[in-house]
Symmetry: C2
Subunit: 324 residues, 2 copies
């Protein structure tokens, strides 16, 4: 296969800030690349576009499989693109295993994928959630530099991916189904208290009554839970993406949050904290990689881990053996 030569830094930069979709896609591929020469160029590109970033509203969306994320994003996306340029990214740490979302993202969102004001990018592949999250954060920056002023990051809720997404967005929305039994099995504890809004999805047909009751119940419940950092009352609302119902209202809520948290300074403050946390996480991930990439270390640790498991060895002694 013929090898394409990489564009220059200037070509990438111009392409991205002039909203050239092909160049944006190639720039994202560049930052996802593991080749050392690509990584150096990627770091330069990210620095150069930095003054053009930060101007979007970053929205995270999560919910268990089957909750209707794609249809919901299609519906709210068509509303958003009336006035905005929308990028839809996903975090799916399992995608490198089954290649599911890589093929699936565009077919899952057929209308948006044909919408000239929307840009859909599947989940980057990668072994670690940290690596996948880093690429998604950098993709947010590239999309912002390319003029996308609303960015949706969706996640399927595997491992710690909700926390990762929550740490990179301004507004975090949890999609749920009415019920509260089996439907809740997939939601991890702690995620609900992280959400900036709860949406009971599929509030259509036979489900309407149950969805309305669930809405009321969650509203009452959330009053009892610790307050939001931004002095924000977490709204609970219903949506039927199929009947194109409710997403306009949800978009209004998100904009209300944006206005409030922009004027209070919360949004900026939150983003600075997110960046510093991101930096710390990356430092720790690099330290961890360097350490575990040493085959002696990883062999030793596996062995010690077994001894800790069976109770032969104290954790302190195990760790001392690694570092002494």
């Amino acid at each position: 296969m013929k090898r394409f030569s990489r564009p220059s830094l200037e070509a990438y930069y111009q392409g991205v800030i002039n909203s050239d979709r092909v160049m944006l896609s190639r720039a994202i591929t560049l930052i996802e690349s593991k080749r050392p020469e690509d990584q150096a160029l990627a770091a330069q590109l990210l620095d150069s576009i930095l003054p053009h970033t930060g101007n979007s509203l970053r929205i995270g969306i999560t919910g268990v499989p089957g909750v209707g994320k794609s249809t919901f994003i299609e519906s709210i996306g068509s509303k958003i693109t009336e006035k905005h340029q929308l990028a839809v990214l996903s975090i799916d740490p399992t995608s490198s295993l089954n290649k599911g979302s890589i093929l699936g993202d565009k077919t899952r969102m057929q209308n948006l994928s044909l919408n000239p004001k929307a840009y859909i990018r599947p989940s980057p592949s990668g072994k670690s959630l940290g690596g996948v999250a880093q690429k998604t954060r950098e993709t947010i920056l590239l999309c912002e530099a390319a003029g996308y002023d609303v960015i949706i990051v969706e996640t399927v809720g595997v491992g710690q991916s909700e926390t990762a997404v929550n740490n990179m967005v301004d507004f975090f929305l949890l999609l749920m189904l009415a019920g509260g039994g089996d439907e809740l099995q997939g939601i991890k504890r702690g995620i609900m208290e992280m959400a900036d809004a709860l949406v009971i999805n599929k509030a259509d047909g036979q489900n309407i009554k149950a969805a309305k009751m669930a809405k009321k119940a969650y509203q009452n419940a959330l009053h009892l839970f610790p307050p939001h950092g931004a002095n924000w009352t977490v709204p609970v609302t219903t949506s039927s993406a199929i009947e194109n119902n409710g997403t306009d209202h949800i978009w209004d809520l998100i904009k209300e949050f944006q206005n409030k948290s922009l004027s209070s300074g919360y949004l900026k403050h939150n983003r600075v904290n997110q960046n510093l946390k991101w930096m710390n996480d990356m430092i720790m991930e690099r330290l961890e990689q360097e350490f575990f990439n040493n085959p002696m270390n990883s062999a030793k640790i596996s062995e010690l881990r077994e001894q800790v498991k069976t109770g032969e060895l104290s954790v302190r002694h195990a760790v001392d053996q690694i570092f002494n």
Copy 2:
């Protein structure tokens, strides 16, 4: 001041497993010591007592200041000591700053501190929560080896201390006040979904009605939240430690959880996971320490952090500069 010589490993070991309170206290002081020769001895001692550990029920208790933790622990403690040996430990990462809890623990719990079946140990001091948490985990092991079969670890809820405590106990209890407004301010989001039981405290006098209403409301709310990993319905109950009311029932609930999770295997499974997580956390903390103890690294990072804050430098480039 005259320097005491340290007892031998054998003397520590015999003292601990023979429930000699003085030697137990000295052993805890040994594991808290930062002197290298003490640390080597501490690791040996921990290995040697390991076969005598794991036989307690480990209970975590948290709640905002003013919720009545001490009085609650006094009350449930007197019930527990009818049939058990009880150790009460605390995690308070701020104690090294104000020395508050170091002086305070025994005066806070006057009855328990006079009870021969109870052993109270104040929070270890330390700069990092990781260090404080490690010492508390090791103190749990020493207390178990000394025959304490119920261990309470309480925390004031500073920083991430609730998560740290949750990661070292079998049962995590959140004390709350009726109300839901200002009383909730101190509870961090995500903690409620972590709890194995909610207790509305100070359900006495004028408060009884409000506490009963709060109980009902939280019960309804918790039904809507994700299910507990151990197939356990998180109970909500009221307590008046002053009127010595409710703590017997709470102790019954905790024992019920213990029986269920012992027979299902959840308790053992959870402890193995906690140990492996603890080991990983300690490895990461050591890597971090070694890295930041290098003054070049910490100076460089402070400088880069400022550039990331102001948006001059991308996070990736900052991290690359540290590692290249």
